[in-house]
């Protein structure tokens, strides 16, 4: 485990992990947004890769992907973007969020090599379930890359047990069925599920999918070690699209303001 993951795991804070799309609305904006998120207290960063067929994503992230594609952002460029982030001072773990087909075309071997070279800490492949991941898992572990596991309320008990145990980086607990996007309600039985996950995990257990307000986030404070926010943030970026291109400084100010308003008081 590298230093960045170490400090992530040793943190006593309620961990905030934001998701943004690489190249949305442009590469430079991604860099500045990432740094802003770090300033706001992000414990790690999920960096999405634009994809033509993002079947685990809702409309907000789909649109972000279209913007990223418009910037010709690719998986390879996203990885090299991470080394630029490092140069510019990003210290938190960065997890590349990519659909499996992009990874396949780049080559799994090439991916892990590039990832290591560019300061990437982890990988999340939403359409690569545990059952299909053994090769990639091995490759990642050889290079000390965390292959983040997702578990869902529909995951069988013994699989949940196993995945929690083996989890690297953090365990991603899906808070609601469906694709990424803003939710107004969460399902019953969620805390039992988080409890079961936490029981076995050697890494922090984070909850994500659909979180969009401070009130919602606070609900999970007792039952998890952190949270992931994607669509709510990407939505804000979308609304700031023009300014992020033309008047970036002011946009970043407003963005930070928004992030602050989202976070539980003690996370700042």
């Amino acid at each position: 485990m590298n230093k960045r993951w170490e400090s992530f795991q040793n943190s006593t804070q309620y961990r905030f992990v934001p998701y943004i799309m690489a190249g949305d609305p442009c590469e430079e904006a991604t860099i500045e947004l990432s740094l802003a998120l770090q300033e706001c207290g992000a414990a790690a960063l999920e960096l999405g890769v634009p994809y033509s067929d993002p079947l685990a994503d809702g409309p907000v992230i789909q649109r972000a992907g279209m913007r990223g594609l418009g910037q010709n952002m690719t998986l390879e460029k996203t990885i090299t973007l991470v080394s630029k982030l490092r140069e510019r001072g990003l210290k938190i773990p960065v997890i590349i969020f990519t659909y499996y087909n992009l990874l396949l075309q780049l080559g799994e071997n090439r991916f892990v090599t590039l990832a290591e070279e560019n300061g990437v800490d982890g990988l999340l492949v939403p359409d690569l379930p545990y059952e299909e991941s053994s090769y990639l898992r091995e490759m990642c572990s050889n290079r000390h890359l965390a292959l983040i596991s997702l578990v869902a309320p529909t995951t069988h008990e013994d699989k949940l047990h196993k995945l929690s145990k083996e989890a690297q980086g953090f365990l991603y607990c899906i808070s609601s069925l469906g694709v990424t996007g803003v939710r107004s309600e969460f399902r019953d039985g969620l805390s039992a599920f988080l409890h079961a996950a936490r029981l076995n995990a050697n890494v922090p257990v984070l909850v994500g999918f659909g979180l969009s307000s401070r009130e919602q986030i606070q609900q999970f404070e007792e039952t998890s070690d952190g949270f992931i926010v994607g669509s709510a943030i990407v939505n804000k970026i979308e609304s700031l699209e023009k300014q992020l291109m033309s008047n970036r400084e002011e946009a970043i100010m407003e963005f930070k303001h928004f992030i602050d308003s989202l976070l539980p008081v003690y996370s700042r």
Binding site: Y51, S52, D53, P54, L55, A56, D57, G58, P59, Q62, L69, T74, L75, E76, Y99, Y100, N101, L102, L103, L104, Q105, L106, P126, D127, L128, P129, Y130, E131, E132, S149, L150, V151, A152, T154, T155, H156, I174, L177, G178, V179
Partner: protein, 401 residues
């Protein structure tokens, strides 16, 4: 030929297949797999399935010798397996009936489906009405515009047609959206996939529900011709369901098998749907297979005059049969398929689907290389009523008024 049994327990056909889906629906695929395996080993289920195919859809469909077409063309005799005579006009209903019966057996009350041209959407809406299930059909905005008649039919059948505005607003996006919806509603919803694609066990299941085509053909050919087996079998390939259904019982034999993809404006243009001829390995809609994509892995929009072949992927078993060379895959252009459709029309009085016309076009070529004592069986996967609007725009020499 080595008789590897595919798929293996992980849903693999060689390197192809698998289950590339979000963790949320993994349990549903397992539930589906065990329900499916249990159902097909239950004689009562098979009997019910057979009865419904017979009494509701009119099976067995005949195997028609295309007398005049064969003579005009020269060479081998061409036989047509008449899937166009099925209820709703294509082989799609075989699979829809099978999956709907399974959904009922599993106690599901809701089905969802994706559709491109609307053929599978109509089949899904049909079986939903028949078996009292609620039905949502996902369809790209662009396709809704092009296929207003089928949209209306689905609604008339009581289905909800959901407009998909993401991506290129066509079949692949409708499929993405159906999967998204399934992820959200997986606990009480059955996803009725329309072709031999998707994550395991779908390709296996769709094959099982379509293999009736090949099984009937084999029996019928034996009865009506002097030889036991035909000298070639041809089927068009979109996702690959009619082809895999037709090929199923022949795979063990040494009858040459031909899958025909859509070459659109030509395989050397950017406008085709020739997945096996021009695609590369990748993951689409939950399965590792061949697909049309950029070198970075963005899935590209295919093109064919035939909406049912206009799909950037292909069922994983076809990718396997292609790589193992058991099946030869060829591509036929828009123009060749229209010419074949017209020829079949004027010689046999059969207006076939544009999809099927691709298979007919290739059979005509193939038959000409064979002799008069030989026979080619073609899967006529559907009727062409649905394509008349398209044909009116494309067929020259028949004024449309």
């Amino acid at each position: 030929m080595t008789a590897t049994i595919v798929p293996d327990h992980r849903g693999r056909y060689g390197e192809f297949g698998g289950k590339y889906v979000p963790e949320t629906i993994m349990f549903a695929l397992e539930e589906l797999e065990s329900a499916f395996e249990e159902a097909i080993s239950d004689p009562a289920f098979n009997k019910l399935l057979q009865k419904e195919l017979a009494i509701y859809s009119g099976r067995p469909t005949p195997l028609t010798l295309a007398n005049r077409l064969s003579e005009t063309n020269g060479g081998a005799r061409i036989y047509l397996k008449r899937e166009d005579l099925n209820h709703t006009g294509a082989h799609k209903i075989n699979n829809a009936i099978g999956q709907a019966l399974l959904a009922v057996r599993m106690g599901k009350k809701k089905i969802i489906a994706e559709t491109g041209a609307g053929q599978h959407g109509v089949a899904a809406a049909t079986v939903a009405a028949k078996y009292g299930l609620s039905c949502k059909v996902y369809m790209g905005k662009e396709d809704i515009r092009r296929q207003a008649l089928n949209v209306f039919r689905m609604k008339l059948l009581g289905a909800q047609v959901i407009e998909v505005t993401s991506g290129s607003q066509t079949l692949k996006d409708a499929t993405n959206e159906a999967i998204r919806e399934w992820v959200a509603s997986v606990e009480d919803t059955f996803y009725l996939i329309g072709s031999a694609v998707g994550p395991h066990p779908y390709p296996k299941m769709v094959k099982r529900f379509q293999e009736v085509i090949g099984i009937e053909t084999m029996e019928q050919f034996d009865v009506i011709s002097e030889r036991k087996l035909p000298d070639a079998v041809v089927a068009c390939v979109g996702g690959g369901s009619n082809a895999i259904g037709m090929f199923a019982p022949f795979i063990q034999s040494d009858v040459p098998l031909y899958g025909v993809e859509a070459a659109g404006l030509g395989v050397d243009t950017n406008h085709h749907a020739a997945t096996l001829s021009k695609g590369s390995n990748g993951v689409i809609h939950g399965s590792l297979t061949k697909l049309l994509q950029t070198k970075e892995g963005q899935i590209t929009e295919p093109y064919s005059i035939s909406a049912g072949l206009d799909y950037p992927g292909i069922g994983p078993e076809h990718a396997y049969l292609h790589d193992t060379k058991r099946v030869t895959y060829e591509a036929v252009t828009d123009q060749e398929s229209i010419a074949a459709l017209k020829l079949l029309c004027v010689n046999e009085g059969i207006l076939c689907a544009l999809e099927s016309a691709h298979a007919v076009a290739y059979s005509l070529k193939l038959a000409r290389t064979m002799d008069e004592n030989q026979s080619v069986v073609v899967c006529l996967s559907g009727r062409g009523d649905k394509d008349v609007h398209t044909l009116m725009e494309h067929v020259e020499g028949v004024e449309a008024e």
